[in-house]
Symmetry: C2
Subunit: 356 residues, 2 copies
C-alpha cells in the first residue's frame, strides 16, 4: 500500500506548498487593503464583501469537495487575513460553548476576540459602548419563536443589524433515567411538539403530549417527575441532569435558530440581501394592511412579519418586518419611503446579506 500512497502524498504535499504560498500572498494583499482602509478609517469587516466571496467560491466550486466545506475553508482564510488588519471583538450571550458562540464563528471565522456576556442586554450594551465591534444575539428560535428581549432592544438602542446567521438546532427526548419505563407524558413547548410530531406518532403514539411554556420548563418537569419525558436541547438536558432516550428527533433535520449580527456598520449591497424594519400604526381596522401596500406595489417580497405588544410609548403594537432586498436598491428605497409616510413609527434596523 505504501508504494501506491507515496506518489499521491508527494503530489498532495506539492499542492499544499502552493496553497501555503497563495495564502501568504493573499495575506499580504489583505494587509495592503488594511492600509488603504486605515487612511480613511473604513471598517475592517465588510459583511457584504465576505458574503460575495463565499457565494462566489460556492458557485465556481468544481468539486469534488461540497460547496459547504469549501466555504468553511474560505471563511477561515478570510478570518485569518482580516485578523492581520485588526482582530474584531464580538460580544455574544455566553458562556463559551453555546450556540451563540457557534454563530460568532460561523459569521467571523475563528480568528476573533470573543466577549461572552451574561445577558442579551449586556451584548447590546457592550456593542453600543464600543467595547465590542459587533454583537451576536438570537432573534428567532424555531422552538420558542421570537426572542422578545432582542426585539425590544433593537427598538430601544442605536445598534443596527449588519448580518444574520442561521444555526442548526436539534431536539432530544430525555428523561430522568434515560429510558422510557413508566413514562406517560411527553412535555415541551408547543412548537417543539409540533416539530417532532411525526417521530412521536411513529415511536410513542400512546403518550399524552403536554404543551408547556418552554422546553426548559419541560426539562425541569422531567427532572422532578419520572413519568414525564421532555423534548429539549441536550444542553438543557445536561443542566437538569436528564438522560437522553433519543437524540435528534425533530422531523425537519434542518431546524434552525436565527441570530442577528448587531453593530454600527451600514452594510453595502452584496447582491442577495434582506432588510429588517420596525413599524407601528394607530390601532384601527385595515391599518396594517394599508401600511404594507407599498411593498406589494413596488414588487418587494415580505419574508417575515411579527407583531409584538409595545411595552413603552404610544403604540399598542410594533411590527417587525423582514423584506427581500437592500435599502440601496431603487424599488426597496421607493417602497420604504412610502411606507414611512404611512407609518406612525418607522425604523430601519438594517440591510445585510442573507445568511448562507
Amino acid at each position: 500500500m505504501t508504494d501506491k500512497l507515496t506518489p499521491l502524498r508527494v503530489q498532495i504535499d506539492s499542492i499544499d506548498a502552493q496553497i501555503l504560498d497563495l495564502l501568504s500572498r493573499r495575506a499580504r494583499l489583505a494587509q495592503e487593503v488594511g492600509h488603504v482602509k486605515a487612511e480613511t478609517h473604513a471598517p475592517v469587516f465588510r459583511p457584504e464583501r465576505e458574503a460575495q466571496v463565499l457565494r462566489g467560491v460556492a458557485e465556481r466550486n468544481p468539486g469534488p469537495l461540497p460547496a459547504r466545506e469549501v466555504q468553511t475553508i474560505f471563511r477561515e482564510i478570510m478570518s485569518a487575513c482580516r485578523a492581520l488588519e485588526k482582530r474584531v471583538t464580538v460580544a455574544f450571550l455566553g458562556p463559551s460553548g453555546t450556540f451563540s458562540e457557534q454563530a460568532v464563528f460561523q459569521q467571523f471565522g475563528s480568528a476573533v476576540e470573543c466577549l461572552p456576556c451574561v445577558s442579551i442586554d449586556e451584548v447590546f450594551r457592550a456593542t453600543e459602548a464600543g467595547t465590542a465591534d459587533f454583537g451576536v444575539v438570537p432573534v428567532e428560535n424555531s422552538s420558542e419563536g421570537a426572542v422578545n428581549r432582542t426585539l425590544d432592544l433593537m427598538l430601544a438602542t442605536t445598534t443596527i443589524i449588519s448580518g444574520e446567521v442561521a444555526i442548526a438546532v436539534h431536539h432530544s427526548l430525555m428523561t430522568r433515567t434515560g429510558n422510557m419505563d413508566g413514562v406517560t407524558v411527553v412535555a415541551a413547548h408547543s412548537q417543539a411538539l409540533a416539530q417532532c410530531q411525526v417521530w412521536l406518532n411513529q415511536h410513542y403514539p400512546q403518550l399524552e403530549r403536554r404543551a408547556v411554556a418552554s422546553n426548559a420548563e419541560a426539562a425541569v418537569m422531567a427532572s422532578n417527575d419520572a413519568s414525564v419525558a421532555a423534548i429539549a436541547s441536550e444542553m438543557a438536558g445536561e443542566q437538569y441532569k436528564l438522560g437522553v432516550v433519543q437524540a435528534h428527533i425533530q422531523d425537519d433535520p434542518h431546524n434552525r435558530t436565527r441570530f442577528a449580527v448587531i453593530g454600527h456598520l451600514q452594510t453595502n449591497p452584496s447582491g442577495s440581501d434582506q432588510t429588517s424594519l420596525v413599524l407601528a400604526v394607530p390601532n384601527k381596522a385595515g391599518a396594517v394592511y394599508n401600511l404594507l401596500a407599498p411593498l406589494a406595489r413596488h414588487g418587494v417580497s415580505m419574508t417575515r412579519f411579527e407583531s409584538r405588544p409595545a411595552r413603552i410609548g404610544t403604540w399598542e403594537y410594533y411590527f417587525y418586518v423582514d423584506i427581500e432586498g437592500h435599502v440601496h436598491q431603487a424599488a426597496v428605497a421607493s417602497a420604504l419611503a412610502e411606507l414611512k409616510d404611512n407609518a406612525a413609527f418607522f425604523k430601519v434596523l438594517g440591510s445585510y446579506p442573507l445568511s448562507l
Copy 2:
C-alpha cells in the same frame, strides 16, 4: 478609497480562484488515496500524517499569517478532503457546545459526525463497540487534576490512545449578584485558587480563600450564599445562575485541559510523539524508583507521572506514565521491554503525535 481597493480585490479574487482550483485537485488526490486505502482496509484518519502536514505548514509558513491560523485553515482542508473518503464518527462527552466538542473539532476539523454521549463511560462504550470510530475524553483538567474515570476506563477497556488535544480553559470570578458587595469568602478547588492567586492578591487580598472539592461545588455554594464568590468556568456559572464579576482571572492565560483521542488505531511515528503507559509494582520501598530506571538508562524522558489507587485487582496503585517518543523508536522500545520485565502490571495505552 474604492479606486485603491478595486485592484487589490481583483488580485485577491484571482488568488482565491487559484486556491479553489488547488483545493479541488487536492480533493481528487485524496479520493485516490481513499481508493488505495479501501483496497487494503487501511484507516481513513491517520493522526501522524495530519500532524506532519500541520507541523510542515507551520515550519514553512513565510508569514504574514501566524502559524496557528495557517494550521486552522489546513486542518479544515484535510477534514473536508478526508470526509470525501468517509465521514469519521467521533463520540465525546456531550452535550453539543462543550469543551469536549471543541476538542473534537480541534483534532478532526469540522467535517465529522459528532456523537454526543451522556457520560465518559458511554464514550468508551461507543468507541469499543465501533458505533464511533474515535472517542474524545478528558484526561487531565488543570483545575481538577486527573479525570479519574477516564484513567480507570483506559485500564479496563481495549481502546488505545491515538492522539491528544489541549484546550484553553479560563476561570472566572462569579457571585449570585454579579458584584462583590458583602462577599467575604472566595471558594474554588485548591488548584483553581492556586492558579488565580496573583490576581486574587492584587484585587481581593482581604477575602478568605476556601478550598472545596471542585469548582462546581464552589459555584453551588455561591448560588446559595451571597457572601461567597466562586472561581469556576463560565459554563458552571451559567448552570448555577451566577453573575460574572470578572472573566479570565487565571494567572496563566495558557491554562489548559488535555483530552485523549481513543480508538483502535495504532498511530505510526510522526517525528514528535508521546507514549502513555500504565504500570503497577508490588508495594515495597524503592520499587517505583527501580521500575523507572530503564527510562533513564535509555535516555527516554518522562513527561508525566501520576499514581492512582487501584479499585480492582491485586495492586495497591497504578502508575500512569507519559514518556517522550514512539514505541517504534529503538530507545523507547528497549526501555519499555526492560520496564515490562520489572513491572507486575504493564500496559501501553498508545503512542501518538504530541498536541500542537
